[in-house]
């Protein structure tokens, strides 16, 4: 059996089956109104969510900085959160602009795989490490915010040992669980896809290296 002998048969068969699935011009126009579902879109959705969360956090704690006057510790906590979030907000906005400009189909297959692999690796790393940082900060700060707003406790009156213990516990639990959850989440979201992209790219690059 030679593959060449199947060329004609394959072409006829492929053309016949393609004809079965034929769509009209109206249907094609309709398709152009739908949204793309590729990895970049998925990543963009995550970025928008991340940006919305960051913006909400900055606004919430920004209000805390301005309005809270009687509790210096709480005011400092709000300032620290805002200062940590602001550079990330700028960085995420920049990355989002980059993603919006990115066209994954302007190159040949090898170039596209290279671009996608680099972009997905970089952005998932950014997503992972920024959230690994935010999870402990969020849990530690969340406890103090709860004490302040839920229990009405003035944080400046809390003993330093109790305050630092709460912060440390929040950091450790948030850090450990955040790290484990994010590893699992990113693997679920992009792990197999990234592995497949890297595999395909390696297949093409190893061919060039061998030559």
């Amino acid at each position: 059996m030679k593959l060449d002998s199947l060329k004609d048969a394959w072409q006829v068969y492929a053309a016949q089956t393609a004809a079965v699935h034929q769509v009209t011009e109206d249907q094609i126009s309709g398709l152009l109104k739908t949204r793309t579902q590729n990895a970049v879109t998925k990543l963009k959705k995550n970025m928008y969510f991340e940006l919305a969360m960051l913006l909400f956090t900055v606004l919430l704690f920004g209000v805390g900085v301005v309005l809270v006057q009687d509790d210096m510790v709480f005011k400092i906590l709000c300032m620290v959160i805002v200062v940590i979030c602001l550079p990330f907000l700028g960085y995420f906005l920049g990355r989002l602009q980059y993603l919006r400009r990115l066209n994954v189909t302007s190159e040949n297959l090898r170039g596209t795989l290279q671009n996608l692999t680099e972009m997905l690796t970089g952005l998932t790393k950014l997503y992972f490490w920024s959230n690994v940082l935010f999870a402990p900060i969020g849990l530690a700060a969340g406890q103090l915010v709860y004490l302040k707003l839920g229990e009405g406790i003035n944080l400046s009156h809390l003993p330093w040992e109790q305050l630092s213990l709460r912060l440390i516990i929040g950091f450790v639990i948030g850090g450990v669980f955040g790290y484990i959850f994010l590893r699992w989440y990113i693997r679920q979201m992009y792990g197999n896809h990234l592995k497949n992209l890297r595999g395909a790219l390696h297949e093409l690059e190893s061919l060039e290296v061998a030559a």
Binding site: M1, K2, L3, L6, K7, A9, W10, Q11, Y13, A14, A15, Q16, T17, A18, A19, V20, H21, Q22, V23, T24, E25, I28, S29, L31, L32, T34, T36, Q37, N38, A39, K42, N103, V104, T105, S106, E107, N108, L109, R110, G111, T112, L113, L116, N192, H193, N196, L197, G199, A200, E203, L204, L207, E208, A211
Partner: protein
């Protein structure tokens, strides 16, 4: 992007050359729903890249490039089909084509099943080969040298022939 004349021109082009996209979809998806999703994704990516298409290469080369890039790099559910199994054990979920003899159809179905066992990149190369594309065009679409197209194709042919020879002998 929202230029009505450009949109009309694009829709006409896709309607005329849609067989090419359907062939790519059939090569990468067996599930009808997945095939529809991939078709939609390819059309959207073609539309996105259409304004920058400068006609430096053939329209079909551009379409194959975008379609194969999209198919290889898109998110799809992992296939449950076992790899490296015997072809005769496979469930041949290939649509029937009209006006074909049973033996011919069975041969083509086994060919598709054998292709299913290839990697994503190999599928792209073998499809372009079966579509009678020149080594130059394959090299341009895939992004490897012409000589490496030859090397890769020989390996793919050997793989397919090893898989297909026993079942084709049985059909005869």
């Amino acid at each position: 992007m929202e230029n009505p004349a450009l949109r009309k021109e694009f829709v006409k082009l896709i309607a005329q050359d849609q067989a090419l996209i359907h062939k790519v979809c059939s090569m990468y998806c067996r599930d009808p729903e997945e095939r529809k999703d991939l078709f939609q994704e390819i059309v959207l990516q073609l539309w996105r890249s259409y304004p920058t298409f400068k006609h430096e290469s053939k329209v079909s080369t551009w379409m194959y490039r975008v379609a194969l890039n999209t198919a290889v790099s898109s998110f799809r559910k992992e296939s449950r089909r076992p790899h490296h199994g015997s072809l005769s054990d496979l469930d041949l979920q290939i649509p029937s084509a009209p006006d074909t003899s049973a033996e011919y159809e069975l041969k083509i179905k086994y060919l598709y099943s054998a292709i299913d066992q290839l990697s994503q990149v190999e599928k792209a190369i073998v499809m372009l080969y079966l579509e009678d594309k020149s080594y130059d065009e394959i090299a341009e679409i895939i992004g490897i040298t012409k000589s490496n197209v030859g090397v890769k194709l020989n390996r793919i042919k050997a793989k397919l022939e090893k898989l297909l020879t026993p079942v084709y002998d049985e059909i005869r």
